[in-house]
Symmetry: C3
């Protein structure tokens, strides 16, 4: 069994879901693992990861609206606002979703279901450079 690691970076341009399935799948393929395990780790506390539907664009909009509703910007609700009103909601939305995803590789492919995509969830309003750490092991 062998392993490989890398850091990949994305510039987010807006608050919300950015699909990152393709660059992750391409790096995975380049390593040449037929059976194994991929881990994707988000190195931030105001962005996170999510696997969700990658077909209907309304799913993405509804997801974004939902998290904006259950962890809203609200100047009166939080003590922490060092970086503005979207600072603390970003930490809450990160806490409610994933910092890390681990996906089996079977027969040379990520074992994602037909409708599953991997999304980077940007919780800040301004563009940010986001770094994901990837770890792959297998044969």
């Amino acid at each position: 069994m062998r392993q490989a690691t890398t850091l990949i970076e994305f510039w987010t341009t807006r608050q919300g879901l950015l699909e990152v399935t393709r660059p992750i799948a391409e790096w995975t393929k380049s390593v040449g693992i037929y059976e194994g395990l991929l881990t994707v780790f988000c190195r931030h506390t105001s962005a996170s990861l999510l696997i969700n539907e990658n077909a209907a664009p309304e799913v993405r909009t509804d997801l974004e609206a939902y998290f904006a509703r259950i962890a809203p910007e609200d100047p009166d609700a939080y003590a922490h606002d060092d970086e503005g009103p979207d600072d603390m909601p970003a930490h809450l939305r990160s806490a409610l979703t994933q910092t890390q995803l681990t996906i089996p590789i079977i027969s040379g492919k990520l074992a994602l279901g037909t409708w599953q995509g991997i999304f980077l969830f940007e919780h800040r309003r301004r563009p940010h450079r986001r770094s994901l750490a990837l770890h792959l092991l297998g044969d």
Copy 2:
């Protein structure tokens, strides 16, 4: 170190939590790993995974009621309803719980706590066939 993968399938009969600890533990045992790591991955965006209490049945009922309350069916709340009013809440409840669980194996057993069970969380009202991808590595 060696590894093994499999797909296991479940037919869900109702919306809610289905305990799947036993078939997962049985497959793990059949591979014969004494020390290692098991990953369970749910290949769907309207069903998810959860580790929770496996003793008191009320915990299950309360969990189901809670997620129905915080991500409710509501025809006015979502743009996406291709498959009916339980479609978008299913994606939201998946986003709030887990797509994947990774569990250490120590001394030949999953390192689950005494009261922990692994649950498949069906978010759709109608029965579905659900597929979990399992990856196991170790010695």
Copy 3:
């Protein structure tokens, strides 16, 4: 490639977030892995794990207040209260956060971002002894 496992225990003294990054990083370092994968698994259903900001103390307070608000103690809301009014909210807050975290190790260090800390989230009011199972593999 080689692997190591251990159980580490913590006594929580209050409801809320307890940073556990250092003891986890120290055990990881003691195994001497330069490239690999660490898994931290919480063996309880009324405590959980979270990666979040480790700098501003208000983030911690706001997180605790937020989860107390969205999964509140409420004698009328739950059927399950075997261990008191903080019993079922503890299971809900666990379900909304993480039972397990997996973190790549790159160049001899956990690939955590600058502001990321690993937290054990105690959801019960009374002090508890909490056990984490750790699994490490790599070279």
